[in-house]
């Protein structure tokens, strides 16, 4: 039933004849909307669809569902997915424009190889991959397998980053590889590992709606994660919103308490809050006793942070800090959220731990609306934490552990000696390694270090020092590609299949709804080809396509805190749209898998 809101029975208006006033015509019709099928509502012709399908947005870690409008098998447009439990029918501008980036003029469409004159020239895939193998092999043979390394990413599908890590380390014999995720939330990962024994943010977006006190530290979700902020505004508990940020950001504007602290005073401030909570008796004694250890030592440590003094040192009115401590202490469901303002600081791990500790001592964890919650950035940063096979062995295992290595070898059906027994260098060590000459070949996948890594000039100089640099990217003209010896053109989001894990650990599906430009190939396909050309294809025979790889990942997750064996396959994720890996605190028992249908 539709109601016409533009007509009233008692109104008839004089209108000039059309010959004098052209109210209809070609230009008017070019903007006309037609009733859209498939529940789309009034739709412009440019977006009219034969059918629709939903995919997870590839921009950020929020992981919104986007409804792709398919005409003649290709996506012609998109609208936010009404039914998707993450975004509830909304999207931020990046999501709305997700298909547009695929049409960029600077897409890489052919493999490019630097010739003797230093010019990048198009070559056939066959020649590109032969060169890839010859040159890396030459470096590896001369300087040892740990002289070639790879830089992975939070921007490709789980299946792809797993295959990348597996081929690089088990197939090509690399030891060192790290992801660009090192730059954003390595501190959060470390804090979680040290505090909980396993890494993953313990929350769902529903917690935004369930809390009665929300604390944002170094986070501006209004701008950085608009759809998460949408969920905060849907909170019906009239929550206290406490924002710890030196700037009066949009989020701070909407706060009930804004602690506009001096930069770099966050750690003492959080210690003072912890101290205040303990002194006022806001500690959940039974939770602390049953689920934590080391409380006394922490209490003694924070005791030196006097509330009034710390407040003054931080540039905050002590009365306000007392008020905030009370609000956190009295809240029945307090959630604490942080993002880059904490992650990217020189003592980020400790700040994150201080936040976690506040949640732990007040028992604000493991219940709806609570948690010490790191909001991640890249679309599959969470996937890289589990599956990139860089500094952790697949499925959050340890390279140093013989047992873990054996498990992985058994599951993948590869000889265990193919798995390195030492962990990888982290990103910064790999860069330093180029300087010392220990790293001589580098393979960069879906990331742009010259743009994102610190000390751009130094890095540019180092990249030129490499004997062989391969960049695998959607775009041929990234700052890093300018230094590459070989560029492999990759397909983008919407041109390939796979899964992402979002900030709340929900598996989301990518779908192939657009033809990749020219000879660009999905990273998964490029990797299969590389395995074949390297001569290690037989090790990865069962990785035939992303959905088969997903079944391998399931096996790798079995029995671990990240167990996802309850997911059948891609269609299952597509149907349910609400498949999450449940995060459990170490020691709290069941590693279960949650499923519900929106």
């Amino acid at each position: 039933m539709s109601t016409d809101l533009t007509r009233r029975e008692d109104t008839t208006a004089f209108q000039l004849p059309q010959i004098l006033q052209a109210r209809d015509g070609k230009m008017t019709r070019s903007l006309l909307l037609h009733p859209g099928e498939h529940g789309l509502g009034m739709t412009h012709a440019s977006m009219s669809a034969d059918t629709t399908t939903t995919a997870t947005c590839g921009f950020c870690s929020t992981g919104c569902g986007l409804r792709l409008h398919i005409r003649d098998e290709q996506a012609v447009g998109l609208t936010p997915e009404t039914h998707y439990p993450v975004n509830l029918g909304m999207a931020c501008p990046k999501g709305w424009e997700a298909l547009r980036v695929l049409e960029a003029e600077n897409r890489a469409t052919r493999p490019l190889l630097r010739d003797d004159n230093g010019t990048m020239r198009p070559v056939e895939w066959h020649d590109a991959l032969e060169t890839f193998c010859q040159r890396f092999r030459a470096v590896s043979e001369e300087h040892g397998p740990d002289s070639i390394a790879f830089i992975s990413t939070g921007q490709i599908a789980c299946e792809e980053m797993a295959l990348l890590g597996a081929i690089a380390k088990f197939g090509m014999g690399m030891v060192h590889g790290d992801g660009n995720t090192r730059q954003c939330m390595a501190t959060a990962v470390t804090a979680y590992k040290q505090s909980f024994g396993f890494d993953a943010p313990p929350y769902t977006y529903d917690d935004f709606e369930q809390s009665d006190v929300l604390v944002f530290v170094g986070a501006n979700p209004c701008i950085a994660h608009p759809i998460m902020w949408e969920r905060v505004l849907k909170n019906k508990q009239q929550p206290e919103i406490i924002v710890v940020d030196p700037r009066r950001t949009e989020t701070a504007m909407a706060a009930t308490e804004h602690l506009g602290l001096r930069p770099k005073s966050d750690l003492p401030l959080l210690y003072a809050i912890t101290h205040g909570l303990i002194r006022r008796g806001h500690v959940d004694e039974s939770f602390v006793q049953q689920h934590t250890d080391g409380f006394a030592a922490m209490r003694d440590h924070v005791a030196t942070f006097d509330v009034d003094e710390t407040a003054r040192d931080s540039g905050i009115d002590p009365r306000q800090l007392h008020r905030v401590i009370d609000k956190i202490g009295r809240g029945s469901a307090v959630s604490l959220w942080w993002t880059m303002g904490v992650n990217q600081s020189y003592e980020g791990t400790r700040v994150a731990q201080a936040i976690i500790n506040i949640a732990l001592i007040t028992g604000n964890i493991g219940r709806p609306g609570t948690g010490a919650n790191s909001i991640t950035g890249q679309c599959n940063a969470m996937g890289s934490r589990l599956w990139s096979n860089t500094t952790n062995l697949l499925g959050h295992r340890r390279f140093e552990s013989a047992e873990d290595r054996q498990q992985v070898a058994d599951i993948l059906g590869i000889p265990v000696e193919r798995i390195p027994d030492r962990p990888s260098w982290s990103y910064d060590k790999i860069i330093d390694g180029i300087e010392t000459g220990e790293i001589r070949g580098l393979w960069v996948i879906a990331t742009n270090p010259v743009h994102s890594w610190i000390q751009k000039n130094r890095l540019e100089g180092l990249l030129d020092k490499l004997e062989f640099l391969v960049v695998q990217d959607m775009y041929h003209d990234t700052d890093t590609a300018a230094h590459a010896d070989l560029l492999l053109p990759a397909a983008g989001w919407g041109e390939k299949e796979g899964t992402f894990i979002n900030s709340e650990r929900r598996y989301g599906l990518l779908k192939r709804v657009r033809s990749a430009p020219g000879q660009a190939l999905a990273d998964f396909q490029i990797l299969r080809a590389i395995a074949h050309y390297w001569g290690c294809g037989d090790l990865f025979q069962s990785w035939t396509d992303p959905s088969a790889a997903f079944q391998i990942l399931k096996k790798l997750s079995a029995g671990r805190p990240c167990d996802m064996t309850g997911i059948d396959d891609y269609p299952h994720i597509d149907r349910a749209q609400d498949l999450k890996v449940r995060q459990c605190l170490a020691g709290c028992g069941t590693d279960t898998f949650q499923q519900s249908i929106a």
């Binding site: 809101l5 859209g36 498939h38 936010p80 039914h83 029918g89 540039g315 033809s515």
Partner: protein
């Protein structure tokens, strides 16, 4: 070494043992181009939407509460209601408007600007912060703890009760829906004159070069007609925009005069007074009954004024028609004085003057349509006569040129008597009285003046302070006087060469001197208006001051210098021309004076381009823009 077998069921091509590498890449490339989403996943999605309700929009569940339940009643209309506290500045509304309405690459009918509240950042020092005794920060706290604050403002068409766009449109390409109050633009009617972009105080209609027309927000009229929400309302994650029914203040004279009387009421910081067009959008901010977010906030783009469009065809039209009417007036006055002395006037003199006036006016009128995106639709220009000064200008100046053309015809026919058929001359003698030419000449003067008045009112009616009545009339009037006298002197000197009638040399010389003085006087006034702050300016908005500041922009340096050069050169030529006339150097005098006229017209044209380009007008808050690089600035300068 084994090859990787093709994976998806749709690819059956087997790899041959002989050419494995080649085939592998071929297979991978083929697989890459196969779309799988429909095959694998669409069935489920289609099942979700059974045919029976396939037209029922899924999103309705979210936006239903953001729409009124019924159409507006009598004396009511729809309006945008914006909850500023909910707007986080994400700009989804901007992108959704663009996407869902199928607009062009950079086109969206919604924009988001940003304002800052509180002290400027550079004033914020530690001492300020330490001395603050911050009370509980709440939704709106202004400068009590020294931190600047930020507020985003989403804006689209305000569907004004008295829309400037509609009033200004010369061809009725706008209408205000009698039920909803939505101000709709009829794209197929639009001639692309861009006058609505000047008349709208909120920069709502946007011109598309590709289409040659403007387009604007229609509150998604098509969607409201089936009970769906406008794109921006549908897409806001925070439900900050909704449609509400408001009472029209124009419903009764009391409420209207109240709304019109308050020139300080604005809908947003930096925006034009709402008294001009009576916008209907309501911006709501909690705990801010006094509207301090409007009075105390500074738009992020405050002072980031950039040269506006040059509108050079319009500048040419203005200067040409002003010169034409001016010389007709001057010539008519002289002719009357001449006749009053009892002398006989050779028809060559009025003919030369009128022909020159005609040619100049026609040149201007023919350049003007270059300004239009859709000139073929211009014939409907009379439709706006009731409210549009542009429509009036076009119609009246058309009549003026017609009158002059007729007068020329009447003067010419007797001269051509020998070559014309008997019937024509007889009819002419029977029907056209002897005074007809003079009557038309005199009649063209009020027509011309009315046309010029309409021209000036086109810009005055925009309510842009830099184009106010006083400033505009001084500039436009000055051009009429100086160029009119100069052109008349040139035409008279030419006529005296061509005809037997001897025009006193002293008269020509006197006219040249007068014209030079008028030009110098006009230039002096112009300089004062453009560069020297004067107390008499009614500039409480500061916009005239900003116009003056903008004129110091480097892109104006050369037009300003050229304009001065043109002025000096024109005076020099007039001096030379009058000397030539005085010593009776045959055709040299008229030629030099004609050159003087052309140079003076060029100078006035440059002045008019500056008038257009330097205008700074009130606008809705924008966002901080990077300063244009010097090469961009140069490009802007040359485009003038």
């Amino acid at each position: 070494m084994s090859t990787i077998s093709p994976s998806t069921s749709s690819t059956h091509r087997a790899t041959s043992a002989g050419d494995a590498e080649f085939d592998l890449m071929e297979i991978l490339l083929q697989q890459q181009q196969q779309m799988t989403a429909v095959e694998h996943f669409s069935e489920f999605h289609d099942r979700h939407h059974p045919t029976a309700d396939q037209f029922s929009p899924d999103q309705k569940r979210y936006y239903e509460k953001l729409l009124p339940a019924t159409a507006p009643g009598p004396n009511q209309q729809f309006a945008f209601h914006v909850d500023l506290d909910a707007c986080s500045g994400c700009k989804s509304c901007v992108v959704a408007c663009h996407t869902l309405n199928g607009l062009e690459e950079h086109e969206s009918w919604r924009r988001v600007g940003t304002v800052n509240l509180g002290p400027a950042l550079d004033q914020m020092t530690d001492s300020v912060r330490e001395s603050s005794t911050a009370p509980a920060p709440n939704y709106l706290v202004l400068d009590d703890d020294g931190l600047a604050m930020v507020q985003h403002v989403t804006t689209a068409c305000h569907h004004c009760e008295d829309p400037g766009c509609l009033n200004g449109c010369p061809v009725a390409a706008y209408s205000k829906d009698p039920v909803t109050g939505i101000v709709r633009h009829h794209d197929d009617q639009c001639i692309g004159c861009k006058y609505c972009t000047m008349m709208c105080p909120y920069e709502v209609p946007q011109y598309s070069k590709r289409l040659g027309i403007v387009r604007k927000c229609d509150m998604c009229h098509n969607r409201l007609a089936v009970g769906e929400a406008p794109a921006c309302v549908q897409s806001c994650p925070n439900e900050a925009i909704k449609i509400e029914i408001v009472d029209r203040v124009t419903a009764n004279t009391e409420s209207e005069s109240l709304a019109r009387g308050n020139a300080n009421r604005r809908i947003a910081p930096g925006a034009a007074p709402s008294s001009i067009t009576l916008p209907t959008t309501r911006y709501i901010k909690e705990n801010d009954a006094e509207g301090r977010w409007v009075s105390d906030a500074i738009p992020q783009d405050a002072g980031q004024d950039e040269p506006a469009e040059s509108h050079w065809p319009l500048a040419a039209l203005l200067v040409a028609t002003q010169c034409s009417v001016g010389m007709v007036i001057v010539s008519a006055m002289l002719s009357l004085a001449w006749l009053a002395t009892g002398s006989v006037l050779s028809p060559t003199i009025p003919l030369t003057v009128l022909t020159t006036a005609f040619l100049i006016a026609v040149a201007g009128l023919n350049l003007a349509p270059l300004h239009l995106g859709q000139p073929l639709r211009m014939w409907r220009v009379f439709l706006g006569l009731r409210t549009s000064w542009l429509s009036r200008e076009a119609v009246i100046l058309g009549k003026y040129v017609g009158a002059i053309a007729a007068a020329i015809g009447i003067l010419v026919i007797p001269m051509l008597r020998e070559w014309l058929p008997q019937m024509v001359t007889d009819t002419f003698d029977d029907w056209v009285p002897g005074w007809a030419a003079m009557a038309l000449l005199l009649g063209s003067i009020p027509l011309g003046l009315a046309g010029l008045y309409s021209s000036a009112m086109i810009y005055i009616a925009t309510h842009r302070p830099a184009w106010n009545f006083r400033r505009t009339m001084q500039l436009f009037g000055g051009t009429v006087l100086c160029t009119g006298t100069c052109a008349a002197a040139a035409a008279l000197s030419l006529a005296s060469c061509l005809s037997a009638t001897l025009i006193p040399k002293t008269l020509i010389v006197a006219m040249c001197i007068l014209s030079s003085l008028l030009l110098a006087g006009k230039y002096w006034i112009e300089q004062r208006l453009m560069f020297h702050p004067t107390a008499s300016d009614d500039d409480d908005t500061g916009l005239i001051q900003r116009t003056r500041a903008l004129l110091t922009h480097e892109s104006f340096r050369s037009p300003i210098a050229l304009r001065r050069l043109a002025m000096l050169f024109a005076v020099a030529l007039m001096v030379g021309g009058s000397i030539a006339c005085a010593i009776g150097a045959a055709l040299i005098g008229p030629i030099v004076l004609m050159a003087a006229t052309i140079v003076m017209l060029l100078g006035e044209f440059l002045e008019r381009v500056l008038y257009f380009q330097s205008v700074v007008y009130a606008r809705m808050p924008g966002v901080l823009r990077p300063r244009p690089t010097s090469s961009q600035t140069e490009a802007m300068g040359t485009s003038a």
